[in-house]
């Protein structure tokens, strides 16, 4: 409520965060998993007779790893931070003020991780074998440390655990119920992505090279820990989800709300399908390691990216209708404020700091009320667009529905007076090309109110049970 809303026509601020975040998540998992891969590959190459040839190939892996993770991984990491500032300033401000030193610690690890990676890469020829193994191992430990920290902040948003605005118990918030399952899942998925990275680099080798077979087998075995444990860990993570989310997930399976409610469940299915495909893919290349070509390895990488898309989308949607669960709604309305008696009946625009001082019940009033309360999640005709969702709305039905919008458990309660509701409903009708004046809606609703109260007070024959 206190901040302006970044009203992007087609995409919507939420989707911008999602796009950047999904790219980052794949690369960051590859960055950490890749560290373990380098460490184990170094050890493995030391024990093999043709260790030098393996290290030559490992250097190609390290080059791809360095450029890919720093150029795209690090930058999209900063990108997420930029985009959440714009999508939900209030939520970001709360996280920053609560966990500034957690982020600072994660930054120290990020600095250390980068430096050790450069020392490992640029000292490739001059460092001793033992030092290289040490550096690779150290890189993985520090990189995993940065996950250890950021995972706390990430899972805090969905399951704040013991933390509340009053007690601001940092440790309870950081090691919240969702923390450990999420950490375990991400760690296993990291190894999986590292293996896929290995396949990607190994695919560039010629088929005749017997080494290719051994490297493809070595890389595809990295998929196993995730394949073995992920279903169990996902179930453990499912048990830590809030009750409302579990209900929505189950409801999603049966397609309530014109099939839209089920989007969260669908993304969970996307994750499961992607997981299955990767396991089968790795099985395929264990059977025929020499046949691996670049397009096949890239296809598995694409499947992994789509798996992340599914996982991150369903994790973000599990938080509906909050940005920080039970504390801050996704349109930056504080829950404790909305619960205050009378708060939700005051004029919405006067509550926000960005009251454009529009004449009430005019189209501008409708547009601004829509922008400041609804546009942080909904776009007009693009992603999660209002126009397709309100196709069957009339001015009056919309006016009345707004009062009940939080009943499905997906949207926050409406804040604002009847004028605001009328203005927004009129604005939505204008989006459909039907011009209705907000004042007219108001008078119709009032007339209906009067007639219903008159008939309700008259004695009726059968008594309601």
């Amino acid at each position: 409520m206190n901040y302006p809303v970044w009203d992007i026509p087609f995409l919507g601020a939420g989707l911008v965060v999602a796009i950047i975040a999904i790219i980052h998540v794949l690369i960051s998992h590859f960055a950490i998993g890749g560290g373990a891969f380098l460490f184990v590959a170094e050890l493995w190459s030391n024990r093999q007779p043709d260790g030098e040839r393996i290290r030559a190939w490992l250097h190609k892996y390290a080059t791809f790893f360095l450029v890919y993770t720093t150029v795209f991984g690090a930058m999209t990491g900063v990108g997420i931070w930029f985009s959440i500032q714009l999508a939900s300033p209030e939520g970001t401000s709360l996280l920053i003020h609560q966990y500034v030193f957690a982020w600072a610690i994660e930054w120290v690890m990020f600095l250390g991780e980068l430096t050790v990676l450069y020392l490992y890469y640029y000292g490739w020829k001059t460092n001793s074998r033992r030092l290289q193994v040490w550096l690779a191992g150290l890189y993985f430990v520090i990189a995993w440390g940065s996950l250890f920290v950021i995972n706390g902040i990430l899972t805090f948003m969905l399951t704040p655990g013991g933390w509340t605005l009053e007690n601001t118990d940092i440790v309870a918030g950081f090691f919240n119920p969702g923390y450990w399952p999420s950490l375990a899942i991400r760690t296993l998925v990291m190894f999986l992505v590292a293996g896929l990275g290995g396949l990607l680099i190994a695919s560039r080798m010629e088929e005749e090279d017997a080494l290719k077979e051994r490297i493809v087998l070595f890389s595809s075995r990295w998929v196993l820990p995730a394949a073995l444990l992920l279903p169990g860990l996902f179930y453990w993570y499912w048990t830590t989800l809030p009750v409302n989310t579990a209900r929505l997930m189950a409801a999603g399976a049966t397609g309530l709300g014109g099939g839209r409610l089920e989007v969260m469940t669908l993304f969970a299915v996307v994750t499961g399908v992607a997981g299955m495909l990767i396991v089968l893919g790795s099985l395929l290349f264990q059977a025929r390691p020499k046949a691996l070509t670049f397009s096949a390895a890239l296809a598995l990488f694409v499947v992994a990216q789509i798996g992340f898309l599914g996982g991150e989308f369903s994790r973000e949607m599990a938080r509906k209708p909050y940005v920080i669960y039970d504390t801050l709604y996704s349109n930056s309305v504080w829950k404790h404020k909305a619960a205050e008696p009378g708060y939700r009946d005051r004029s919405f625009l006067s509550l926000t700091r960005w009251d454009p001082d529009v004449v009430p019940l005019t189209p501008a009033h409708g547009e601004w009320a829509f922008r400041l309360q609804c546009a942080s999640c909904h776009t007009r005709d693009g992603y999660r667009g209002i126009v397709p969702r309100t196709a069957s709305w009339t001015a009056l039905s919309g006016f009345k529905w707004l009062l009940t919008m939080d009943q499905q458990g997906v949207m926050p309660p409406f804040v604002g007076t009847a004028e605001d509701r009328a203005a927004i409903s009129a604005y939505i009708q204008s989006l459909h090309g039907r011009t209705v004046s907000a004042a007219e809606i108001l008078s119709q609703a009032r007339a209906e109110e009067v007639s219903r109260s008159k008939s309700a007070s008259a004695p009726t024959r059968e008594v309601e049970p």
Partner: protein, 167 residues
């Protein structure tokens, strides 16, 4: 044009016997692959799984009887087959004047029994029930499920009877 296929020549007597280590490993991943396949086939199973039959009595605990009006069962000995929800029922008035109703699914093979004035018979395999729904003769193993029946402003309603077990 020479066939330049780069085919690795079959080496050794048993060219296609995969070495033990990798075979065991293939089985492990294969098993995991099948497990995951089953996991993500779950949505398809849920899609195909039969839909739950809605409880005919619904929230108010009673269901209107269709195709039988109070007039049809006004006289003694009068009765007819009707339906409630998706299920069939027979409603009749015994010679003593008592209004009765049963779920018309024959306990033998599921055909709907028929009210024939003096008795209740099932045409599929010749099962006969008496007016208390007890299976008198023929293959039916169990009595019919009784239903509580009452009339309310011109419409017959049935409700689950308390003593009979749910069919």
């Amino acid at each position: 044009m020479g066939d330049m296929v780069k085919r690795d020549a079959p080496a050794g007597p048993e060219p296609n016997r995969v070495d033990k280590g990798r075979r065991r490993f293939l089985w492990v991943t294969g098993g995991l692959g099948l497990a995951w396949l089953g996991l993500s086939a779950y949505p398809v199973y849920r899609y195909i799984a039969p839909r739950p039959v809605p409880d005919p009595f619904g929230k108010e605990g009673r269901a209107a009887v269709k195709k039988v009006s109070p007039a049809d069962v006004a006289a003694r000995g009068a009765g007819a087959n009707g339906s409630y929800g998706q299920r069939g029922c027979i409603v009749f008035r015994t010679p003593q004047g008592e209004l009765k109703a049963f779920d018309s699914k024959c306990t033998h093979a599921g055909c709907n029994v028929n009210f024939a004035g003096d008795s209740i018979s099932c045409h599929c395999h010749g099962g006969i029930y008496d007016f208390d729904g007890k299976n008198v003769s023929g293959p039916p193993p169990r009595p019919l499920t009784p239903l509580k029946v009452f009339e309310e402003n011109g419409v017959l309603y049935v409700a689950p009877s308390d003593q009979g077990k749910e069919v």
